[in-house]
């Protein structure tokens, strides 16, 4: 029987907080559509800062990852960029990894330190990825004029080296290359562990792992990674859903915003040079890392003002990057569509 919903609430949330999650989902969707990742690792910290318990924050984030990845996979399926066989083979490792990660969270919850440990892990993870993006953007600036981007169909040297170690059983991938089931399971297990522990889709780990360790084309790595996100999100949502900790109101509000944001972010890639905004994305992750750290300090020092500062920093930095993408997108549309025959990015 479908539960009743109070007239003044939307799926258990007040209109203001529902609207806040729709707006936040829109920002996350723009990142996801534009960068192809970064959809979820802002959601869990935001929920933690808002005072949701770690299992609710992670479980709801996993369900959101599942919904977002389902939408993205539908888009990439249309472009024929999903290796379903590889994705299905990774499923076992992902499931085991998520189960281990979620058991770790529930174990830490019993000890009363889940929020602290997950928060600290987030600070380190966001800082590390932020440094990587910022350095990558600065390196690109230094290399201006050199447009030698990697061939989308090329398999990186390190992947070819790993593929050369033929540890049976071997399997043939959709593009004809071969990979060991041990490699595929190892990648799936590692990504699943990160997903289950932190409540993230793990795309920022999974996509590079498929590309550099298993060894597929870049396009197939992106599409298959999204399919993997769908599966890890489903397994994670099932695991946390069994514990009854997924807040469907939060997930629905985030999806309403992110599905629209992802369309706009994805369309913006046709006009905006990613290098123009990558440095903002890297800096945003560094600010987000500081925000989560301040949120943890707030709990330890019992200073609510730090909690508010943390929330403002997280939302403010995300809003700034979202605005930069939309601003650069609008400028590029005027530039390219205003001049007949102007080439678009990627054409």
């Amino acid at each position: 029987m479908i539960g009743s919903i109070a007239a003044t609430e939307l799926l258990g949330l007040g209109p203001e907080i529902f609207g806040l999650f729709v707006a936040f989902g829109f920002m996350v969707g723009v990142f996801f559509g534009f960068f192809g990742m970064g959809g979820s690792f802002l959601v869990t910290p935001a929920l933690l800062i808002l005072g949701y318990p770690a299992p609710v924050a992670i479980g709801s984030s996993m369900a959101f990852v599942f919904g977002t990845a389902a939408i993205a996979t539908m888009k990439h399926h249309d472009a024929g960029q999903v290796d379903y066989k590889l994705g299905a083979l990774m499923f076992v490792g992902i499931s085991v990894g998520i189960e281990l990660g979620s058991r770790l969270v529930f174990g830490l919850e019993v000890l009363g330190i889940a929020n602290v440990v997950v928060g600290v892990a987030y600070v380190l993870l966001l800082a590390a990825i932020g440094v990587l993006f910022t350095r990558s953007a600065l390196d690109t600036d230094d290399d201006d004029g050199d447009d030698s981007e990697g061939d989308a169909d090329e398999v990186p040297a390190i992947a070819r080296k790993i593929q050369s170690y033929e540890i049976p059983p071997m399997t043939t991938l959709a593009d004809g290359s071969r990979a060991s089931l041990w490699t595929i399971s190892g990648v799936g297990g590692g990504v699943g562990l990160v997903s289950g522990f932190l409540g993230v889709g793990g795309g920022f780990v999974r996509m590079p792992a498929i590309y550099y360790v298993i060894g597929t084309s870049l396009a197939a790595a992106v599409g298959t990674s999204l399919f993997g996100g769908l599966m890890s999100g489903a397994v994670g949502a099932f695991t946390y859903g069994r514990a009854g900790v997924i807040d469907l109101g939060i997930v629905t509000a985030l999806l309403v915003g992110s599905a629209l944001g992802a369309r706009i972010g994805s369309s913006a890639t046709a006009y905006v040079d990613e290098d123009d905004v990558t440095i903002y994305f890297g800096l945003m992750l560094l600010v987000a890392s500081a925000a989560v750290g301040i949120g943890e300090l707030s709990s330890w020092l019992s200073m609510p003002v730090l909690d508010r500062l943390s929330f403002v920093l997280l939302i403010g930095s995300a809003l700034l990057v979202c605005a930069m993408i939309l601003y650069h997108g609008a400028l590029a549309v005027r530039r390219t569509r205003g001049v007949p025959g102007s080439p678009r990015r990627g054409e």
């Binding site: 919904g67 539908m74 949502a237 099932f238 807040d247 549309v333």
Partner: protein, 53 residues
């Protein structure tokens, strides 16, 4: 609102599957719905952006 309210009295696994089913349905509806909106108003929005000063 959680899966426990969605299917009161059902086993935890069924409740979890119901949550996944609801999220999947929402995702499909949003993909199709926003796709239709994009097709209908997308070109006009881009044209307006291109002409805006």
């Amino acid at each position: 609102m959680t899966g426990t309210e969605l299917l009161a009295g059902a086993s935890p696994s069924v409740q979890a599957l119901a949550v996944i089913g609801v999220v999947l349905l929402e995702a499909i509806a949003l993909y199709v719905g926003y796709g239709a909106v994009e097709e209908a108003v997308g070109p006009a929005v881009l044209d307006r952006l291109a002409k805006a000063r």
